[in-house]
């Protein structure tokens, strides 16, 4: 009989599918010695030519971090991290200032081409301004002039600290306080760069703002810090995407992202995350411990998180919304794929404070191989959240029978006018679905991609067009390797 594709075979093939973007760029880096202490923090701050208040911010965070314990409540397992065995600063050597793309390190440009994110193409095709963070230092910022005409600030965090200290001092760590959690405190102490975006009153940002993060230096913890502030009546759509080279040792990534939306403002934050997930035995891969939180500060404001998570060995991430303004709304749309030995514990928190606040949670987990995929979400309706509304839908899709899917919904309601709805489903990609596709001439690999993309469609539809295409490819890549 011909090679007929079984679920077992599918699982085997999935295990073998290799990381598409595995390559290493060799750029001389300027590294801090291993370990973390006050001197290292002073080194980072000096290296970045920071004002004294920033150094003080960092030292305060470090003092808080030393008193804190690594959290262990997430549904993930990994060997203890030796925080003294990491480098906390690495920067590509600033060879030159770039006036045009021709002057950018060709090797760097080549890397972007391999990733399919060449800046020329980006510029020409989609008109996206890209602020590229390569190992902690912003290499190139484009479209800045056009944005600055509208009064929009979009630059690296280092630059923002130097050029816009009043904005940074006003907003930094106001959504995620320095001592919010273990990793946020660590980030606050040692963050090396990130992006800052400010949209002034009444301005609608005319393009999708986009940052590509890359982790490139072996054993370098990456601690980006992102702050997006949308002033009254403004709108911005922010894209974040990442891929990383194959590495043998685990790399820690602990970013902090803060969003602030004032009265009538809207922030849409989209992420496609594809860091190296480790090999089929779980060796290598990124530890992704991220704190993402937005606050709907003013009335009628809106924050929307959309994420497609396919990479990382371990993901610990809960993009959340604090709905403080009356009539404000928060959204969380997520697709999380885990394969092989990947572990993901991800979800959201919707904290309803203001009246008539609304939140929507759509979470789609896809587990394959021996992976563990958990949704963890909190919906809290505070006393003042009169007529608060939440709808949550958490679906899990399983490929094979060695993987796990878990749902941990927490609901806290403190007033009787609030309504919270929760729906959850778990399903398996059926052999009969795959056979049905096969019988129409579609091979198993494409069938899986079709079925998975169909399952995740509600979330993918929320992504900006050009990102959605990339995300679909990523879903297929991370589950590929299945020619029967």
């Amino acid at each position: 009989m011909a090679d007929i594709y079984t679920e077992e075979q599918l699982a085997k093939d999935l295990k073998k599918s290799e990381y598409k973007y595995g390559f290493v760029t060799d750029i001389d880096s300027d590294k801090a010695p291993k370990g973390i202490n006050e001197d290292i923090i002073r080194f980072i701050s000096a290296k970045k030519k920071e004002p004294v208040w920033m150094l003080e911010f960092r030292l305060k965070a470090f003092a808080a971090w030393k008193e804190m314990k690594e959290p262990d409540w997430a549904h993930v397992n990994y060997p203890p991290i030796d925080f003294q065995d990491l480098h906390y600063y690495a920067a590509p050597k600033p060879k030159k200032k770039y006036d045009s793309l021709d002057e950018v390190d060709p090797e760097l440009l080549d890397t972007f081409k391999k990733l399919g994110i060449s800046m020329e193409e980006q510029k020409r095709l989609v008109g996206v301004a890209v602020d590229v963070v390569m190992d902690s230092v912003s290499v190139k910022t484009t479209f800045k002039e056009k944005l600055s005409e509208l009064g929009i600030i979009f630059c690296s965090m280092s630059e923002a600290i130097r050029e816009h200290p009043e904005l940074i001092q006003e907003h930094l760590a106001t959504v995620v306080p320095v001592s919010d959690n273990y990793y946020a405190a660590l980030n606050s102490a040692v963050f090396t760069d990130g992006s800052f975006c400010y949209i002034p009153k009444g301005v609608r940002c005319p393009m999708e703002l986009s940052t590509y993060f890359r982790i490139n230096e072996a054993n370098t913890g990456q601690f980006e810090r992102t702050l997006v502030v949308a002033d009254e009546g403004s709108y911005v759509s922010y894209l974040e995407g990442c891929t990383a080279p194959i590495r043998d040792e685990n790399q820690l990534h602990a970013a902090v992202v803060e969003l602030k939306a004032f009265k009538n403002a809207e922030i849409k934050y989209s992420t496609v995350q594809n860091w190296y997930p480790g090999d089929e035995n779980g060796k290598g891969g990124i530890y992704n411990f991220v704190t993402k939180r937005g606050i709907c500060e003013g009335d009628n404001s809106k924050i929307s998180w959309t994420q497609v998570e396919t990479g990382s060995a371990i993901t610990w991430k809960y993009p959340s919304c604090i709905l403080k303004g009356n009539h404000s709304s928060g959204e969380f749309y997520s697709v999380a794929v885990t394969n092989n030995r990947q572990q993901a514990d991800t979800g959201t928190k919707m904290i309803h404070i203001g009246r008539n606040t609304k939140s929507t949670i759509i979470s789609k987990g896809i587990s394959a191989g021996f992976s563990e995929n958990s949704y963890r979400g909190l919906v809290r309706m505070g006393k003042g959240a009169k007529n608060g509304r939440n709808f949550s839908q958490c679906d899990s899709l399983l490929l094979g029978d060695k993987c796990g899917a878990h749902t941990f919904p927490y609901i806290e309601v403190e007033n009787s006018s609030a309504k919270v709805e929760h729906e959850a489903t778990t399903s398996k990609i059926g052999e009969d679905q795959i056979f049905y596709c096969n019988q129409r001439g579609i091979d198993t690999e494409k069938a899986v991609s079709l079925i998975v993309n169909g399952y995740a469609k509600e979330v993918l539809n929320k992504l900006p067009m050009e990102f959605a295409v990339e995300a679909q490819k990523l879903l297929a890549i991370s589950l590929e390797g299945s020619v029967g």
Binding site: M1, Q433, F435, C437, G441, I442, L450
Partner: protein, 251 residues
Amino acid sequence: MLKIKNLKASIEDKNILKGLNLEVKPGEVHAIMGPNGSGKSTLASVLAGREDYEVQAGEVDFDSKDLLDMSPEERAREGLFLAFQYPVEIPGVSNINFLKTAIAEIREHRGLEPLTAKDFLKLVKEKKELVELSGELTSRSVNEGFSGGEKKRNEIFQMAMLEPKLAILDETDSGLDIDALRIVANGVNKLRTKDNAVVVITHYQRLLDYIVPDFVHVLSGGKIIKTGTKELALELEDKGYDWIKEEAQTA
């Protein structure tokens, strides 16, 4: 077009097909009838390449190629179509997208250029009229939330879109009311040419009033025990299967 010789197949160590022979030529319509558990659906599944069945012996020649040596998708690309008895739902995947993918794969296999979006949509419009499928159903997810009748019509719509050489209709009439039955049968009839062939698997004679077969085969105990013309179907309707079984035993 299709030559089945001494086909033996089992599922979970249970022998179902026990030496089945059948030949289908281009332009012909064959009906396969038989009592429950006689192996009708097994035959359809084995021909389409469903993995649960194990072929123990026999040969199947499809257009001078060894059918049993091909993967399910290769069989489909070579022009074998199975209208499922229980069509599968694929949430989130639109009918249109599903068929676009299928047609692209089939055309690539045959060395044809991909259809342009315009030609594809023209084909959709033309074919859905054949089975009186509403515009809304083609843009909805594959079979999701379709009624039984809509699912069966969708199968025939897919068949029309994919233009197979050999179509196997596995109890396509089950669960259809008389109007839906007529629509489905009309669709199939309009798709008939001198170059393609249809194998209709059914319990009941009534479908054969609409899709008139050239041959009627009676499948019982994993073998074809009698072959006749459309009159045989009427006789079966009237007298049941026992007399044929007895006849076969005494022969």
